[in-house]
């Protein structure tokens, strides 16, 4: 033990398959892949993990963290707190040290001795001279850096009893066909193990034990799952502009398409993925392609949504399908580009000038991102309007353990109301904005369908039911009313909210959505174990289903848990459902990191305590 610390005064944390490891590294040092290797090795041992790469918006030099939650119960959200800190970044040493739970562990590079003031007496310090080992073993500077990561993974595998064979197997998969890289990596891992076995006290109080809690679940990033959903949903056109954290979705779409949408006979691409010059062009291309009969989407983040506003209004008013994936990030402005938030709710719900309102859907994890991605194209075609799939960085760019993605091969794409050549030929009346079915949705035609019938002029100006330009007030009002009717119709097609009854009757409820959901699952279980009961409702779409107002009216107080400063979902609920604002209590987390179970527990616990005030006993006169 280095640094004069050794074992802590507090008894060390003891836990099997239930702890949080956090790696503090320097960005650009190759640590992320080693840390993911660590997480995957535990997963291979049948223990669920939830990794989170918390990275800076630069290429090299700034602090970066990688948190791995090991949890046999399968909670996928962040818990809060750290049991084992792997402190590899001197820049952040002090704040990293603070985060460790009392009785927790600090694993650090002990090549240079640190003063006792740099340690905590309630934390177990485990020093390993990583730099010295690397300098001894490797001559190349880059190798010294990269292998350092693998060496600490090796040492940790001894300390936590992670099977070395499993790590070797993963390294083998990673460097398949690259023998020159495979062997040295395995060697480095064993070097780390050997040092730990001979010089450190092992195993630690926290450790991994092989079990079978993963089952057939898969490990996947939301962006990749959503992109696959687009392929299954029949999307053939993707127009996008690079922006973190959505770029990997467009890239995944191109990758999936190359595999699934290349014509085997001619090897021609049956899809188009265009990197546009900006977000204005990308949404323009989506609108042009959708107008012309393709299923098209763009993926972006907050700044992109801001740039797309004018076009979104056009698509709303001219009634052109468009699917927009908003992988939300820290905002406003450039904000925290590599951090997560749910702060684009209002800018998407009411995007563009004038009276507009849009369909939003909220997936909770990659599996739902896949399902909602496919669904979004049906919704856009059916409703002939923009549809926003509201993801966030936490869903999009982190790997999540999910149930396997499933697709019903009997499922057909709903292309909505489109008049064919036969329909027009048979003399069916065509009015582009004529509400023949009373649901607010009119029939459209694709360009080039019929020589003399069904053509119309698409415009952002006011038009009558037959798409003729007009500035007549009554006609304008008639059209705007129909658009409202259409959004009312939308509710029946949107994913319904998920309600959950508490174990006992309660006057309190909680509403949440998106990436907060997996954290809420854990929070509710914890509250329940404390005897606190909450009915919950997970929102999955906007405009709100009638069940949402029912839920609110059935409870005295309803917590609205969300990841932004201004309680945007709460505002939407108050505004759209005409709710007494006092009834909705905001629970807000918006520092850019994903919300934690402990945070929600504390917030709800404190607020509930306020409602359950016991009056002080009056002193008898």
């Amino acid at each position: 033990m280095q640094g004069g610390s050794g074992m802590s005064k507090v008894s060390p944390i003891r836990a099997v398959n239930d702890f949080v490891v956090k790696f503090a590294n320097v960005n650009g040092s190759g640590s992320a892949s080693a840390n993911l290797l660590f997480a995957k090795a535990i997963l291979r041992m049948g223990v669920p993990v939830a990794p989170r790469n918390i990275f800076p918006s630069n290429i090299q030099g700034l602090p970066t963290w990688f948190e791995v939650r090991v949890n046999e119960a399968g909670w996928r959200g962040r818990r809060g707190g750290v049991d084992l800190m792997v402190a590899m970044n001197p820049q952040t040493w002090d704040e990293d040290l603070k985060e460790i739970e009392p009785g927790g562990y600090l694993f650090y590079d002990s090549t240079k001795a640190l003063p006792a003031s740099k340690f905590r007496d309630d934390v177990n310090a485990i020093g390993m001279p990583l730099t010295a080992i690397c300098n001894r073993e490797y001559s190349d500077a880059r190798q010294r850096q990269l292998f350092k990561n693998i060496i600490y993974v090796g040492a940790l595998s001894t300390l936590l009893e992670i099977e070395p064979e499993t790590i070797a197997e993963l390294i083998g998969e990673q460097y398949k066909g690259k023998e020159a890289l495979l062997k040295p990596n395995v060697q480095a891992m064993h070097m780390g193990r050997a040092y730990a076995e001979n010089n450190l006290d092992w195993p630690l109080g926290v450790r991994v034990r092989r079990t079978n809690a993963v089952g057939d679940r898969i490990f996947i990033e939301g962006n990749s799952a959503a992109a696959l959903g687009c392929v299954y949903g029949g999307a053939t056109v993707c127009a996008w502009y690079p922006i973190t954290p959505s770029s990997s979705m467009a890239e995944a779409f191109a990758r999936h398409c190359k595999r699934f949408r290349t014509d085997p006979a001619s090897s021609k691409a049956r899809y188009a993925s265009v990197q546009a010059e900006d977000e204005l062009a990308s949404i323009g291309m989506v609108i042009g392609a959708s107008w012309n009969g393709a299923r098209a989407f763009t993926c972006t983040s907050g700044p992109g949504i801001s740039l797309m506003q004018e076009f979104i209004g056009l698509a709303y008013f001219a009634e052109i399908p468009a699917v927009i994936f908003d992988v939300q990030r820290g905002s406003p402005s450039t904000g925290m580009p590599t951090r997560t938030q749910q702060a684009d709710l209002l800018s998407c719900a009411y995007a563009s000038h004038g009276d507009t309102k849009h369909v939003l859907i909220f997936p909770q994890d990659p599996k739902e991102a896949f399902e909602f991605a496919a669904l979004s194209f049906d919704l856009a075609d059916r409703l002939q309007t923009p549809v926003f799939v509201m993801m966030d960085l936490d869903i999009g760019m982190q790997e999540w353990l999910c149930d396997p993605l499933a697709w019903d091969s009997r499922r057909h794409h709903d292309r909505g109301k489109v008049m064919s050549f036969q329909d027009l030929e048979s003399g069916k009346e065509f009015g582009r904005y004529l509400d023949v079915d009373g649901d607010g949705i009119a029939y459209r035609t694709y360009p080039g369908t019929h020589p003399s019938r069904g053509s119309y002029f698409t415009r952002g100006t006011t038009k009558d039911r037959y798409a003729h330009y007009t500035e007549d007030g009554a006609t304008y009002v008639d059209n705007m009313q129909r658009l409202l009717r259409k959004l009312e119709t939308a509710k029946q097609y949107l994913p319904e909210p998920v309600r959950r009854k508490a174990g006992a009757p309660t006057r309190f409820g909680a509403i949440y959505f998106g990436s907060t959901a997996p954290v809420m699952d854990e929070t509710l279980a914890a509250l329940e174990s404390q005897g606190i009961h909450l009915d919950t409702l997970r929102l999955r779409a906007f405009p709100f289903h009638d069940a949402v107002s029912d839920f609110i009216s059935e409870h005295e107080q309803v917590f609205v848990v969300e990841q932004n400063r201004d309680a945007q979902m709460r505002s939407l609920l108050i505004n759209e459902l005409v709710i007494d604002p006092g009834k909705l209590i905001p629970v807000l987390h918006y520092d850019g990191t994903p919300i934690t179970a402990r945070f929600i527990l504390r917030e709800i616990g404190e607020k509930l305590a306020m409602f359950n005030v016991t009056p002080l006993r009056k002193v008898a006169p």
Binding site: S282, G288, W291, G293
Partner: protein, 357 residues
């Protein structure tokens, strides 16, 4: 164009093209632009070109941005789907439409404000990508709908109707298009239908990005002394050195059109007709120089750029004839207009995408 409602009854012996369509079948609604507007003449030229090309109107998608020029798609090809998008963003919508269906003809109509000011970025990128389209800018140097402000193509030193002098350099869309690699670039004048109609026809049959900048005077706000885009100024500075002609040598044109098929397989070779030898053979750089010189001197010049040598053209033409029955030989010659130019790069870049989604 007229402000009177169009008669519904037509002369029974109106000439029909091979598809059985009359000129009227290519018209649209009655124009609501000012009487004498250059844009209406361009609409007329488009109607004429499509009638003569014998293309089924419904296989054309016409797209525009915002402005006087962007209103014109209402006034031609009434049986085509039209799309009046947002200001300066027509190129992206057209590109998207093109990605969805490669079998239609895409006609983008824009103005100098729409393309050279607010939409310069999208203009550039659509040409850079070589989107298969005809892109017409109806260039009058002013914003008409907002009552006569200068646009980015207004010449330096030219005067607004109120007498203000434009101090900024103009953007020359033709030079820009050349630099960006458009494979067909031309400049013409709304007042010269004899030149404009064959140009539009050639552009429609061109495979790749075809750009035509048409000087189109604004009678309401830019037709006064001191303007360099008035009818008088353009006519004065318009020196015809040639007449344009267009003739497909042999084609499956009718058959393809009847099937509602895509535009014709283009012949990639161009031949000058009665064009001065010097102008006929000049490289792209020379071409640019000629256009620039013309700008400095303020008078017109006609030129053509092509990459193939005459010998190579002959060889490739023979090859094409052997291989493709549907080859069309385009003959484009030039007359001089205010800085008019036609260029044809040998390559015909195309956007990538699915065919007929």
């Amino acid at each position: 164009m007229t402000y009177l409602a169009k008669p519904r009854l037509h002369h029974p012996e109106l000439p029909k093209n091979k598809l059985g369509y009359t000129h009227r079948d290519y018209e649209g609604a009655v124009s609501t632009l000012c009487a004498g507007c250059g844009h209406d003449s361009i609409s007329g030229a488009i109607i004429q070109a499509f009638f003569e090309l014998e293309l089924p109107p419904h296989r054309v998608a016409k797209l525009s941005g915002i402005g006087c020029s962007s209103k014109t798609p209402t006034y031609f090809l009434g049986n085509s789907h039209g799309f009046n998008s947002v200001h300066g963003r027509m190129p992206s919508v057209l590109t998207g439409a093109n990605l969805a269906n490669r079998d239609l003809i895409y006609l983008g109509v824009s103005g100098d404000g729409d393309s050279a000011s607010i939409g310069l970025g999208q203009f550039a990128h659509a040409l850079r990508r070589g989107v298969n389209m005809v892109y017409i800018v109806e260039n009058n140097g002013v914003y008409g709908l907002t009552k006569g402000q200068f646009s980015a193509t207004a010449d330096r030193g030219s005067k607004s109707k109120r007498g203000a002098v434009n101090n900024d350099q103009p953007i020359d869309l033709v030079l820009l298009a050349l630099q960006l690699g458009a494979s067909f670039v031309a400049r013409s004048f709304s007042g010269d239908k004899a030149q404009l109609v064959p140009l539009v026809k050639a552009a429609v049959l061109h495979r790749g990005a075809a750009f035509i900048d048409v000087i189109s005077p604004c009678v309401a706000f830019n037709n006064h002394a001191g303007s360099t885009k008035s009818y008088d100024f353009v006519r004065e500075h318009n020196q015809a050195v040639n007449r344009l002609d267009f003739m497909p040598t042999h084609s499956r044109f009718g058959a393809q059109a009847a099937q509602g098929a895509r535009r014709l397989q283009p012949g990639r070779s161009y031949r000058g007709n009665k064009l001065p030898a010097a102008a006929r053979r000049c490289g792209r750089d020379r071409h640019r120089t000629v256009v620039r010189t013309a700008r400095c001197h303020g008078f017109a010049c006609g030129t053509q750029h092509r990459r193939h040598s005459a010998q190579r053209i002959a060889r490739s033409r023979a090859r094409s004839r052997r291989r493709r029955a549907g080859e069309v030989q385009r003959v484009v010659a030039l007359s001089a207009q205010v800085l008019d130019a036609v260029t044809c790069n040998s390559s015909s870049p195309r956007t990538r995408g699915p065919r007929g989604v």
